[in-house]
Symmetry: C2
């Protein structure tokens, strides 16, 4: 690890420039294909008047929420944009001020792309939902599935197209200085995605939990019943959380992974290292198109099987093409790689072609294994969910305990699999920066599947919404309703799989980003670097303290997110109960609930609630870095990665297992709908809601935001601390204290909000 990233200038030869342009063209083609898919979706029949009215309300609510969310987030973006100017930038020959400006500009580009993809995903999903329902009603199962798949395909192609386009553009424009600019791009993408995940996640689950608590539990009316004032909000939530939030999140995973690969690629493989990490996802883009076209439903085939087939075929094609590309593009020896001004990077053994090929394959295999593992732990046809279903016979407590066990167990195996992939790539790379680049390339291999994964995931909220609209409109029944229920169950599993893949990219990206963190420190410290290494030993008490704090932040973030959902759901419950009490004739269907009020409450509350967890992610690394030093900050990141991996999978899979255990009972097992077993699984599902759709998925961008903040502040941290050349302890401690104070104020404010709701007199808390 001692010989890490040697700072050197890298230019691009004309043939490599051409290759980067080709990648850019592929990216633009992907966006064009996305537009074609989009038009196909919009061309489909959009249902009865009733269905259109409902869909219109959902569209309006979702757009209103995202618009308000973007306005709120623009404050954070402006502050971050300005603060970025204060932080030193590493240059590779270019002018530092120019680079700082472009780093900040590309921060906005990254954030803008994240927002754009989220918005596009939401926009299309809120139009596709009603079309899926209409297709199921008028044309049958396969046309319905096709519309849902095409919607996913659109969002998937947008995600990979824009991610690749951004990265190729930066490499084309900045060449050897690309990594510095990319830090801004990645940070923008990750920060916005994190906020969208948290905000959307709170919205969707506040509405869902609130609707269930009053509707299913108290009034005993079915899900998506139009008499429930929270139903429109629930459907809006699917689109802003599961769809917009997820699309932004996967875009961010894609962008940050590319950033990490390009930073390390330049150091490990020189010029070729700046190009190869673009070739791999470009191949993935092509195979994603193949995958989306392959997703053709066969009659009587489970929808999950269709999706899995498309995934595996496109993964195999990606693997073969990547190997071909590695052998065609890379030289057989490190000596033939082009470093700065034609200088080869010496000192590493091995054949770059084999290192690249094996690493990429590790990533592709990792995606396949996670797909299978998550499918096993959350699918209705496998043992874990069936066992959770059986425990419903002994009541809600055993349902909760068995779901938690499934979550713990699947988290352990997923973490072990991810760790094995990291270790495998590490062994393939050998040592130092090549090993880190190998890990990043494994991440690129994982990325080749992102197009298909996004397509799979978008399938979830679209079919969930389609079912909701069908149910509310009352215009769909019989076989068509059955089709939509099946699609909804498939969507639950694909959503869980996406979360597994997302957290794997987070671990690989974060491990690789560690390289850029130490690089930033190395270039600031020069001959004092050894002192940093002595500080960053894992058994150094300072590092260990950082590590405990990093793990603590994951727990705190999860707790804040779960709590926020609880609070917002409480507000929804009060409002829905109020409407049942105050609006005459709701239960009889003669009075109409005020759906808009609940949408408003969810919008207002989730925007208010996203600040505290978001600030935690931004301020905690600043406090640890400036307060305890660069070694403790390294420990902090490691602790966050370790605890974050396990917590994210635990939350996602226990939630997925509960959701599908409920589906099992609803399908007639253990007493079926309305039985005590059903009631027990509804409790499990409600507990799982904020686990799997709010806290769990937000941990993925959280890890990356904290990593990128650390990379960005690293030069300033060592500059001000005792291991740097110039020290300014009062300023350093002052910054740390300021960060803690900001965070503490945010926590106190959200605590106070909690009291307000918890102290609402118990009488107003009882259903009429």
């Amino acid at each position: 690890m001692s010989a890490l990233l040697a700072p050197q200038a890298v230019d691009l030869s004309s043939s490599n420039t051409t290759l980067v342009i080709v990648v850019g063209v592929i990216a633009i083609l992907a966006v064009a294909i996305a537009m074609v898919f989009r038009n196909q979706v919009l061309a489909a029949n959009d249902g009865t008047e009733n269905m259109k009215t409902i869909a219109g309300a959902v569209q309006e609510g979702a757009a209103a929420f995202l618009n308000r969310q973007f306005r709120t987030l623009s404050i954070f973006a402006v502050v971050a944009f300005l603060l970025l100017f204060l932080l030193p930038a590493h240059t590779d020959g270019g002018n530092e001020t120019t680079l700082k400006i472009f780093r900040s500009v590309f921060f906005l580009v990254g954030a803008g792309f994240s927002a754009l993809i989220g918005y596009l995903g939401m926009w299309l999903a809120t139009r596709a939902n009603v079309r899926v329902a209409a297709a199921a009603r008028d044309e049958g199962r396969e046309p319905a599935m096709r519309v849902a798949f095409r919607t996913g395909g659109t969002v998937g192609m947008f995600t990979v197209g824009l991610g690749l386009l951004g990265a190729a553009l930066v490499v084309f424009l900045f060449k050897g200085d690309a990594p510095t600019v990319l830090e801004g791009f990645g940070f923008g993408a990750a920060m916005l995605a994190m906020f969208m995940r948290v905000g959307g996640g709170i919205f969707t689950k506040a509405a869902d939990v609130g609707a269930d608590l009053v509707g299913k539990v108290e009034q005993n009316i079915p899900e998506d019943d139009p008499r429930n004032a929270a139903t429109i909000a629930d459907n809006v939530g699917d689109n802003v959380g599961d769809c917009a939030g997820m699309a932004a999140d996967l875009f961010e995973s894609y962008a940050v992974m590319l950033v990490a690969s390009l930073i390390l690629g330049k150091a490990a493989f020189g010029e070729q290292g700046l190009v190869f990490p673009l070739i791999v996802p470009a191949i993935g883009t092509i195979t994603a198109v193949i995958g989306v076209f392959l997703t053709r439903p066969r009659s009587n085939e489970n929808g999950l099987r269709t999706i899995n087939r498309a995934f595996y075929i496109s993964a195999v094609i990606s693997g073969v093409l990547c190997a071909v590309a590695a052998f065609a593009y890379l030289p057989s020896s490190f000596a033939d790689l082009t470093g700065a001004a034609g200088t080869p990077i010496a000192g590493y053994d091995g054949d770059p072609r084999i290192i690249a090929t094996v690493s990429v394959l590790i990533g592709i295999v990792l995606a396949a294994v996670i797909l299978a593992l998550t499918g096993y732990y959350t699918g209705t046809e496998d043992k874990p969910v069936q066992d959770v279903g059986k425990t419903s016979l002994t009541g809600a407590a055993t349902v909760i305990l068995s779901g938690i066990s499934v979550g713990f167990e699947s988290a352990v195996y997923t973490a072990v699999v991810i760790a094995a992939a990291v270790y495998g790539a590490f062994l393939v790379g050998g040592s130092g920066v090549v090993a880190l680049f190998a890990i990043a390339l494994a991440g690129c291999g994982l990325l080749t599947t992102v197009g298909v994964i996004v397509a799979m995931d978008t399938f979830g909220p679209v079919s969930d919404n389609a079912q909701g609209i069908a149910e509310m409109s009352g215009d769909v029944d019989g076989e068509a309703a059955q089709i939509l229920t099946e699609l909804d169950a498939v969507g639950n599993t694909t959503k869980a799989i996406t979360k597994g893949i997302a957290i794997a990219t987070a671990v690989l990206a974060a491990t690789a980003l560690f390289g850029s963190y130490t690089d930033a420190i190395r270039s600031s410290l020069a001959e004092n670097y050894a002192k940093f290494e002595a500080d960053a030993l894992v058994f150094n008490p300072g590092t260990l303290v950082g590590l405990i704090l990093g793990a603590a932040v994951v727990f705190m973030f999860s707790g804040l997110a779960v709590n926020a959902v609880g609070r917002a759901a409480g507000a929804v419950v009060y409002e829905v109960r109020r409407q049942f009490r105050d609006i005459p004739g709701i239960m009889e269907g003669t009075g109409k609930p005020e759906y808009g009020k609940v949408v408003d409450i969810c919008t207002k509350d989730s925007l208010r609630e996203l600040a505290t967890p978001g600030l935690l992610a931004l301020t905690a690394p600043i406090a640890v870095g400036f307060g305890l030093g660069a070694g403790a900050l390294a420990g902090y990141l490691a602790g966050a990665i370790g605890a974050g991996t396990l917590m994210a999978v635990f939350l996602a899979n226990s939630g997925g297992a509960w959701d599908n255990a409920k589906k099992l009972v609803e399908d007639g097992n253990h007493g079926g709908k309305g039985s005590p077993a059903h009631e027990a699984t509804i409790i499990g599902d409600t507990v799982g809601d904020p686990f799997k759709d709010t806290a769990g998925p937000a941990i993925n961008p959280l890890i990356k935001v904290m990593n990128l903040v650390s990379v960005l502040i690293a030069p300033a941290v060592v500059g001000l601390s005792a291991i740097g050349s110039d020290t300014n302890t009062p300023l350093r401690i002052g910054i740390a204290v300021a960060a803690v104070v900001v965070l503490a104020v945010a926590v106190v404010i959200s605590k106070r909000r909690e009291s307000v709701i918890a102290d609402t007199p118990a009488e107003t808390n009882v259903a009429a």
Copy 2:
């Protein structure tokens, strides 16, 4: 960190030998005082015939379980005893073979002391319970509390007495070689405590959960109703889990903390460093006696306040006496400390007296802060539990979610407080081994409170049992029953506090033990040590992989423990239902349930279930160390400490909050007993049972067992790996594979057991 533990011979001067003898005499006096307390307890009136019969059944069941458990564990002990011979031992002038023999012998002594204290605790508690019930019935509140406190005092004095005696004996006999022998002593204590925590924890919660599921939920009969066949087993469980398991656990915390302090003390302070860590707990022993005498109930004072007062007074006295001892015993300069053969240890700045005093005070303050923090998060009079109670109005799902939030939040603040204490001691110590010793001394400061803490904790199961016996006998009612209910609620909070203190000692001990781990590696590697440091950088992918695995083991261990309780409780449920169905007249009180059968099921199942989590703790570090190397093993330990701290507090405090939220509702809030709110909190409490009494508390010994295994195998790991002088890769990988295989077989066997129960036909699963 580079100048860690310099190997050198240390002898004891005659004045220091005298001091060690004085410490030994204090330890023996503590045991003598314990005997006096014991006799006071036994002298109390032991109730009506009915009560005696019930108490007799509990005594018999508890003794039978512990005897069978010790027989089972003796297999593990013999295997470990023999394997210890195979591992190299570090010597400080003594003969290696002799040291190996004594290390193994003291392994048995440590294990034996753990077992003995557990047994004594259980023995006395099963006799005290009925006496507390009788005192409440015949004499009133204060005599009842006094008997309960005296029982706690006995166990507390035994714990500190035997722990101190063992350590003083080893230092007296082996002087400079004491650390090597103490590794065996600590390992024996920790291993046995871990198994007792897991086995007893499964027993107690299988019986409790099983009893509640059939009794409270299905048959709607109160807790401890004699018609429930699981009641005796439930009361036995309190004694073997909360009492025997807890006493062994705290003894182990005490012993391991002393071991770590003596190892580091020798390296940091030379001869005085071998004596001062004995003086601090000797002072703690004296103040514990004062504390126990101070615990005099005042009329109309909440029991918790009485206990807290005793704690704070004895903590202040300890702090003052330790400062006096430091200034009286230690010199003012490092130059005046006696290293080997009179050589002072050079190269460290600072005044040893101030370092020692401040460090010890940090530990004492830490104990007080954790006491307050845990009391806040789990006490019925504070906001968190009251908020959880309020959420019962919106059903079980919100109770679960709010309890989980409380758990997460309290885990974060507790972890931050512990981390602050570690960091504070680290700053006081300055650098290198002195900093580590300062952390260990903070641990010793914490230890001064253990006597009172054990006394407080034992109070819990004794009063819980007293209430059970009173209820079952039907001979206690009115005010006396009220008194016992109050004592039981106080016990819930004291139990949660003990767990907080225990996990704090685990973090301090583990951080300090890291020093012995690196020392073991240093003495094996000599000039190759720098290579290990390069491997142990926190951002090295190998270390990071180890870290993820370490965190994963904590999740897996928790999942296994929760699962084991679920399985064993399932078996209890089937048996109790069978008895209700097959034995005529149970519900009418004319037929008598077969209590013994349920005790048998719990005994058999918990002994079968403890193997897998236990093996996980023993084999996982072996697999990581031999398979991935010493750097990855360091990362593994760090990951386990980070995740373990948070998980342990999360599990303990969410469980404690649910338990007391239920008590709140039972006290008449939110609808009181029998209301839907009550039902919701019962579900919360049942989920919390295995959290707080099985998985959570077992994480404390788990961390230490894994640390000590790593210290013991470290020389062999580096000897066989590439960074050692002689390498034998096939043997190294072979050992790792063997460890993985043993673990995999254990997991598969417990999975199979799971299937057997889960596949029991649903009809047998429905109450008659």
